[in-house]
């Protein structure tokens, strides 16, 4: 098991549940046991829950696994059936689950500037939480879900918040233009400035006058975000939320086919026998859309682990089930946002319940009259009915 976050833990649980009783080694590049990432931009960042509440394992859980944490995998030899580790060790195995996740994209030129953050790991979240506690002006680069959640949390903590989005409408990719506009209107409702359709040119900082870099690599502190239209937005803290790239560099040359992550079939199999991939690093074939889709959602990491493990244990013998349509949620400004399906293929979207102005909406996306996706804002009951219906229609 290469990767010890939700996808890796879920796959380990699935292995045991499906009857595998052999040796199980779980490798993780972070030092921490598996933890839950969604609260990192919400309750954990707000300081309402602590690290112990993030743990994904229960106290009495024992998967009979060997955990090797704080060590990075640097290569896979799929012929010799071994994973190479950064410390020189090699782990041999009969089967491999690749669950190395994704890493936050950074802004070129932001290295070594204090006050600039990304948010992916609990260590990232702790550092950002400590800075937000000091208050001030926060600029969030990227109006996606991470950016929106950080803005929402920081706004509740009393910071002065600006969100900068390069596209004309935030969330247009996952939600479409119309609903992206409605969801991102939450920012203005709460006094958060949203600047759209403008790119970021760079960051400025109070660079130290001499050219020497301090021992910790910090060369000064950020003081503004510079936009491509010439504006300069003053900032005490900057969060870069511009997406993530799959962590698959270590698989170059392994023979495992890569394309926007690990290329996988509809059952998690890779191009090499005995190797499956799951979670944010895995680009599964989705028979529903007839293309590969890398699904970076919590529920995908959990649900697909079961299918990938079935594939690993029965190579070729098990019929791949159709995974449920992708589902994700976001909590912003006290509004529960839920989405299921694929917005990209839709030719219409209609609000079937509630009203956009009330930020209380159940919207259904259709293609040629058939529902393909649904969005809920504070509509958990109706949304779940649609989620169930879309899954039944697909299976």
């Amino acid at each position: 098991m290469v990767g010890a976050s939700l996808a890796g833990l879920s796959a380990a649980r699935s292995l045991r549940r499906q009857g595998y009783d052999g040796r199980l080694v779980v490798l993780g590049d972070e030092l921490h046991r598996p933890y839950d990432r969604p609260p990192l931009s919400k309750e954990f960042l707000a300081g309402t829950i602590g690290e112990e509440e993030l743990a994904l394992e229960s106290d009495d859980e024992d998967l009979q696994a060997e955990w090797l944490l704080g060590v990075r995998a640097t290569g896979l030899d799929s012929a010799d059936r071994a994973v190479r580790l950064a410390d020189g060790r090699e782990i041999r195995a009969d089967g491999f689950v690749i669950a190395t996740g994704a890493a936050a994209r950074t802004l070129p030129g932001s290295e070594g500037l204090a006050g600039v953050h990304v948010l992916r790991t609990v260590d990232d979240a702790r550092a950002l939480r400590d800075e937000l506690a000091g208050g001030g002006r926060l600029v969030v680069i990227g109006g996606g879900f991470i950016g929106g959640e950080v803005a929402s949390t920081a706004c509740a903590l009393g910071l002065d918040v600006t969100v900068i989005e390069a596209a004309p409408t935030p969330l247009a990719g996952p939600l479409g233009e119309t609903m992206g506009g409605i969801v991102s209107a939450l920012h203005a409702d709460h006094g958060v400035r949203l600047l759209c359709g403008v790119g970021v040119k760079g960051l400025s900082g109070d660079e130290r006058s001499d050219t020497r870099v301090s021992p910790d690599g910090v060369r000064g502190r950020v003081d503004a975000v510079l936009l491509e239209d010439g504006r300069s937005i003053p900032a005490d803290i900057v969060v870069v939320g511009v997406g993530a790239r799959p962590c698959v560099d270590w698989l170059e040359g392994s023979g495992v086919a890569l394309d926007n992550g690990v290329t996988c079939g509809a059952d998690g199999r890779t191009s090499r026998a005995g190797v499956v991939a799951v979670g944010d690093c895995a680009n599964w074939y989705d028979p529903r859309v007839g293309a590969h889709r890398r699904v970076e959602h919590w529920t995908g990491a959990r649900e697909r682990a079961d299918a990938a493990v079935r594939t690993l244990l029965s190579w070729g013998a098990a019929e791949p089930g159709v995974p449920r349509p992708p589902y994700f949620w976001s909590d912003q400004y006290g509004v529960k946002i839920q989405f299921v399906g694929h917005a990209a293929g839709a030719d219409s979207v209609t609000i079937e319940e509630g009203a956009a102005d009330d930020r209380n909406v159940l919207a259904v996306y259709r293609r040629a009259g058939h529902p393909v996706a649904a969005l809920g804002m504070n509509q958990p009951r109706l949304f779940t009915r649609w989620r169930k219906q879309l899954a039944l229609a697909a299976s």
């Binding site: 743990a55 229960s58 959990r302 949620w329 839920q338 958990p380 009951r381 779940t384």
Partner: protein, 119 residues
Amino acid sequence: MIPACRLADLPRGEALRLDIDPPVSVFHTDDGEIFAIDDTCTHQDASLADGWLEGCEVECPLHASKFNLKTGAVDAPPAKRPVRTHEVVVEDGMIYVRLSTAAPNLPPCVAARLAGAPA
């Protein structure tokens, strides 16, 4: 025992929330069994009666934790603590719930709210 509703008023595949404190939900599974559990997910404040009922499991409508209706056990994360179960009695076409005397496993935000609320 508290009366929930008439059996005929709770079709298979449906759930009913009883607005007591803490709330309890009654589920009628597709196989015709009836179960009662605490309505609030043990992970965060969400109503399990609004969730996805499948077989003998309910999936939380927000974060997809799954609970076994028979035992209350967590079948899928992020929840870690089981949900409290209650005894169900069906008599003369009426569903009754005998409330558990065990302490409920409420999520931290709800537990804090209840603790801070005036008695």
